[in-house]
Symmetry: D2
Subunit: 304 residues, 4 copies
Amino acid sequence: MKFRGVVPPVVTPLTADGALDVVSFERSINRMIDAGVDGLFVLGSSGEVVFSDDARRREVIENAIRIVAGRVPVMVGVIDMTTKRCIEHARVAKELGADAIVATAPFYAILGPKEIKRHFRLIHDAVDLPLFAYDIPVCVHTKLSPALILELARDGVLAGVKDSSGDDVSFRFLTQARDEEGLDLVLLSGHEVVVDGAYMSHADGSVPGLANVDPVVYVEQWRAYQEGDWDRVRELQDQATRLMRIVQVTSGETGYAAGVGAFKTALMLLGVFETNTMPEPVLALEGENVEAVAQVLRSVGLLK
Amino acid sequence: MKFRGVVPPVVTPLTADGALDVVSFERSINRMIDAGVDGLFVLGSSGEVVFSDDARRREVIENAIRIVAGRVPVMVGVIDMTTKRCIEHARVAKELGADAIVATAPFYAILGPKEIKRHFRLIHDAVDLPLFAYDIPVCVHTKLSPALILELARDGVLAGVKDSSGDDVSFRFLTQARDEEGLDLVLLSGHEVVVDGAYMSHADGSVPGLANVDPVVYVEQWRAYQEGDWDRVRELQDQATRLMRIVQVTSGETGYAAGVGAFKTALMLLGVFETNTMPEPVLALEGENVEAVAQVLRSVGLLK
Amino acid sequence: MKFRGVVPPVVTPLTADGALDVVSFERSINRMIDAGVDGLFVLGSSGEVVFSDDARRREVIENAIRIVAGRVPVMVGVIDMTTKRCIEHARVAKELGADAIVATAPFYAILGPKEIKRHFRLIHDAVDLPLFAYDIPVCVHTKLSPALILELARDGVLAGVKDSSGDDVSFRFLTQARDEEGLDLVLLSGHEVVVDGAYMSHADGSVPGLANVDPVVYVEQWRAYQEGDWDRVRELQDQATRLMRIVQVTSGETGYAAGVGAFKTALMLLGVFETNTMPEPVLALEGENVEAVAQVLRSVGLLK
Amino acid sequence: MKFRGVVPPVVTPLTADGALDVVSFERSINRMIDAGVDGLFVLGSSGEVVFSDDARRREVIENAIRIVAGRVPVMVGVIDMTTKRCIEHARVAKELGADAIVATAPFYAILGPKEIKRHFRLIHDAVDLPLFAYDIPVCVHTKLSPALILELARDGVLAGVKDSSGDDVSFRFLTQARDEEGLDLVLLSGHEVVVDGAYMSHADGSVPGLANVDPVVYVEQWRAYQEGDWDRVRELQDQATRLMRIVQVTSGETGYAAGVGAFKTALMLLGVFETNTMPEPVLALEGENVEAVAQVLRSVGLLK
């Protein structure tokens, strides 16, 4: 299994005028690899994939592959509204050297399980790379059922799932069914503040956006899990959860602006990113909101 | 006001292998213009905009502008996940001769009113064409509030709204506020089976997908409304509603597959389209479902 | 058809200490009957049924029946979480002289169409009174499909529907299917600001909460509809819609507090109710919010 | 802290004609106490509280208190639509000897945080018993935010929370804030298949409906947790999760009918309940669905 352990979704740094900030990107990726992450996922939701046009997507992939230089495997999000576009993105990802691709269910158009399954099958047929399903109903407004996932895994369509569904009950049923059937299906959790529970639930790893800010805590947690040191797993989770408050302490901001906005602001405060510029139409955190993030960083000892 | 009356969202015909069927497209557009529609809206939801890559979008616009040849104004959907892509599409629409553009709120990423307003402002600033907001929460999972729409109208950002929200109460409050303020804001309803109610609510027109199948009934209805013949408006609505059952009589299909699938199948049965091919990952209606659509067409006298 | 025309859901006046204010209740009911309403619906959502314990429900019904004294038919809401309790309430309603009962789908427990149908059948079997289904998904989180309603109507279980679903498309399909089958099923709309559209859609009447505040406008609208004077129907709807802004002009209040809170406040300002007391845990509108309601009343000429 | 550990929500057995089956009730309660549960919760969602009229609620409480006879503390659900009714139920619970009461946010009427807080405050003021908030948005369609819960805990209104929200991220933030503030607030998880994760998240115990069927596995899991034996906690969770499939193996059933229906059927098959009768309008599982539940019981060794 290539994608096990901690696979952060890479936050994309921008310059003040909205260009890709390649220097910060390199610094951030190297910082995560140095901390010991097991893989990287570029162009995920927090990697602002849906804010990126084709040229930007290509730029992000090329730079990521170049910077990573084979040190860890790289997954690439090929997220788009429907199949045709996803396949185009997948071909680019393949051409540029991705190790795996990640697609959500189609969105905008109202489709059912029949079409969702066909969507994944068509992507899989078109591009010869391991395909991960990204289960993120809060964005695509469809939950991938365990039954659907298992069917696609049995047929060799899916290599894994990145679960950001928030439905831990469903995830537990999924891991158990996977294990009992002996399916080759990598199950990763995307919920930063309950990774310990996900490991209890037999997740193969995590995809924590917060690992951009503090990769060490998640790497240590994974290692503690591998060693069976559950108290340490929990302790590290508590530590990460305290840091995760950066997404809650701002005011007047919601959703993406509060979440990825806080990640970028923290990375700027830590000197990893040059700016906390957000992609249009989102504005960067300012003033008291930046200070609120800084206070959380100080409270957990990441900032002086 | 350029966009008043009946402005069908144009269904996009495909050949059996998924190419744009230009001959059918021309036949269908001419059929609607001959019936007397007041405008056309290409690359809307039922025009499979989110299933179309950039090349297909360009092809659809170019052909539509060429076929229409100035006989009626043409609105072009520039629907995409976030601002940057919408602006790219808007520039293409402008370059190719569109009379107006139509954008939804951003989707996938979770954004609030602040970002949604900025999204429309940025599109408006970038491209000099009348901008319509497409209010379609069932697809983008955000309802545009009357307050948000009115603010953007006052600032000259929005020229109009295509309302597919299903929230007729909100729509009535919106038309009334518009009228009392005397704002220059075109309000069109997208709900085929309650256009009479929308006209009661002071809508400036309708955008009925079903008008692809039967443009005459909606054109006659609009004219009856202009003449104040409300009984006729209602009678024609009842007639259209009977036809609209084509989206309900199929089995095993839901959402887009049942809706646009039935429109395409009806157009094929009527000899307007060559095929009822749907864009991947959706499959065309087959067998008994085609027959079910045919029976509705016969029952209303459109098919022998 | 006994229940045609305007059937207001009666708002329940309270004294300052939360008792039923019988004097105000009598004044309000008489005011509506004098205005010419065709029936009354007590213990509906705006009649605070779910805030009322058994004693209060009995008190409301007894007083309503006594005050109405046969001048118009009276429907009684028997709304409760599940079947057993609804039947208990229905028996009381029958004993006290109700002309019809109104029940929603079960709520809280997650039940499917099979159980919902059985729920209505059991109520119908237990109590010999015409049974209306109250379709109000915003409260019970289940939409009654046209197919379910039609099945129950065919079997004689349902005498009618009070539609507060906000789904006008579904309502149009329902009225049309009812008419084509020739079913004896009374279809009433509960949406105050689009009653004209509901009449276009062949509704048999309306159940407007706002008619507590201004019964005349809805009675005149119904009469205009009966005379085929659609322009007048629309004009009166515009008038009612202007008044309905009382539910929008308050600040810091949402849902029930803003809606029924505004109705009670308007009735107090008009001298119909003694107080605008709300049932716990809701607080009455105060200060600037009362003034905001008063301004709307003045702007439409109901208050000097 | 009185309510720590495993506190099953007691499933209510019925005779074939729908009466309370006191003999089965006694057998089931004794079986759970003998297994070592730390408390019992009667008249919860799976205890069919919303299907029970006042007489039945009283009967359930009286029998439960009598059977338990002080061996473990007893929580009583006082769940109803709004405050007045909840207080009535709470007074009965107090009179009959309950050790704590459990209330949800109001439902049916659309209320906001202001009213929800007042609702809990009024119940707390009216009845001198520890008050638990039952966070169950799937039934009441409101999520209790950590901020709301913490405010009520600080003010001494809430003694604890039964979390059935499915929002484990929110739960983790809640436990951490509780611990950092040093609040006296008992936090119990209601999700049977991820109790290990809840313990990782510092839950004080669990309220697993499935413990009616197999109390031993949850009691052992709690003890393993107390001993810090996390591998055993997880192993027991896996075991319970396999058993929980009884709610998934039936066909043609959803929601309450599939869930509590499976619990009752399993208890019948195990000889604990005489029947698997469900409260109207729900029908008991039959035929192949009973056999499907039996197969799961056999597969985990609970049935021969």
